[in-house]
């Protein structure tokens, strides 16, 4: 699971292009969306859906399902882990 979370952090920095942060700055329970967290927006969510499918072969069918998974890095890692197991 730790490896999965690290990979997600790398994806967020490299491919979603979060500015001014490194993977080490990202906390597992940090909200991905909103001003209290990483501040991702709705288009970032679409990109994240594409990236999760590309890197993990896990399809997030709709944004309603994605909303729960995208709460934090930890919840997204859990979601991917469950779908893969």
């Amino acid at each position: 699971m730790e490896e999965l979370k690290e990979k997600l952090k790398r994806i967020l920095i490299d491919e979603i292009k979060i500015q001014g942060m490194t993977p080490a700055d990202l906390k597992d329970d940090m909200p991905l969306f909103g001003d209290d967290g990483l501040g991702l927006d709705s288009l970032d969510a679409v990109e994240l859906v594409v990236l999760v499918q590309k890197h993990f072969d896990v399809q997030i069918a709709d944004m309603e399902e994605g909303k729960e998974a995208f709460a934090s890095i930890a919840s997204l890692a859990n979601y991917i882990h469950q779908k893969k197991s």
């Binding site: 491919e15 292009k17 288009l43 679409v46 990109e47 594409v50």
Partner: protein
């Protein structure tokens, strides 16, 4: 754009679409060229584009067929993302509404509007990661003014205008610009049966336009000089609608 940019053009085997393909190829774009049934003209276009030293990928599918759209575009989008998507595919099934068959309504709406949805959804998703791109829909003056006998066509073209304005707002923060080019009377097969002697007096420039006059506007909208233009409807109609 360090790599050769790609322009994907739907409905590009003839008329305005073909002119756009040739102009963009001459301007340095590789072309993904969609057509439905006109294999001969599409093949000829490919030869002309390749003679310019550009690559041309022929994509034969019905833009309103979701499975066909996905089967054609998904594998390509895994390899490359077009810089530009120009939705030109269109058909007419004219007739007065009281006598219009359901097929005429569905076919026109599906080709123009559902086609834009199906292809635009895949391509815009791919463009997001590039943080750049240009999307252009070819509408029609009929979609702006209405036209007797074209309730289906005008509705589809007006729908494209609304869709593009909304999409322009959605994608602007990713530097993806979305605009509409709205031709009037252009010298193509589509106007060959129209009574031009009666219509031309309504056109201030008093002539039909050429496909090159439309493709030139498309090329401009893809270029750096149009970097601050999004959500606009650019009329190419000789003043028919102002």
């Amino acid at each position: 754009m360090t790599q050769t940019p790609i322009a994907f053009i739907s409905g590009a085997s003839r008329g305005i679409g073909a002119a756009i393909a040739l102009r963009l190829a001459a301007g340095g774009y590789d072309i993904w060229l969609n057509y439905h049934a006109s294999h001969g003209p599409a093949q000829s276009l490919r030869e002309q584009i390749e003679a310019m030293g550009r690559r041309c990928t022929l994509l034969s599918f019905d833009v309103a067929d979701e499975a066909a759209v996905t089967a054609a575009l998904d594998p390509l989008l895994d390899q490359a993302v077009p810089y530009a998507f120009i939705h030109n595919a269109g058909i007419t099934r004219d007739g007065l509404l009281p006598m219009m068959g359901r097929d005429s309504w569905d076919q026109v709406l599906n080709t123009h509007l559902t086609g834009f949805f199906l292809m635009g959804r895949l391509i815009s998703k791919a463009m997001l990661s590039k943080r750049q791109g240009r999307i252009i829909a070819i509408a029609s003056v009929s979609g702006e003014t209405g036209q007797a006998g074209q309730v289906n066509y005008a509705a589809a073209k007006a729908g494209l205008i609304g869709a593009c304005k909304s999409l322009a707002r959605e994608l602007a923060r990713r530097n993806i610009l979305v605009n509409v080019v709205s031709p009037g009377l252009i010298a193509t097969e589509m106007i060959k049966d129209l009574p031009l002697d009666k219509i031309l007096p309504l056109v201030p420039l008093n002539r039909v336009g050429t496909v090159d006059e439309v493709s030139g506007v498309v090329e401009f909208l893809l270029g750096p000089a149009a970097g601050y233009i999004t959500g606009q409807v650019i009329g190419v109609n000789g003043g028919l609608y102002m």
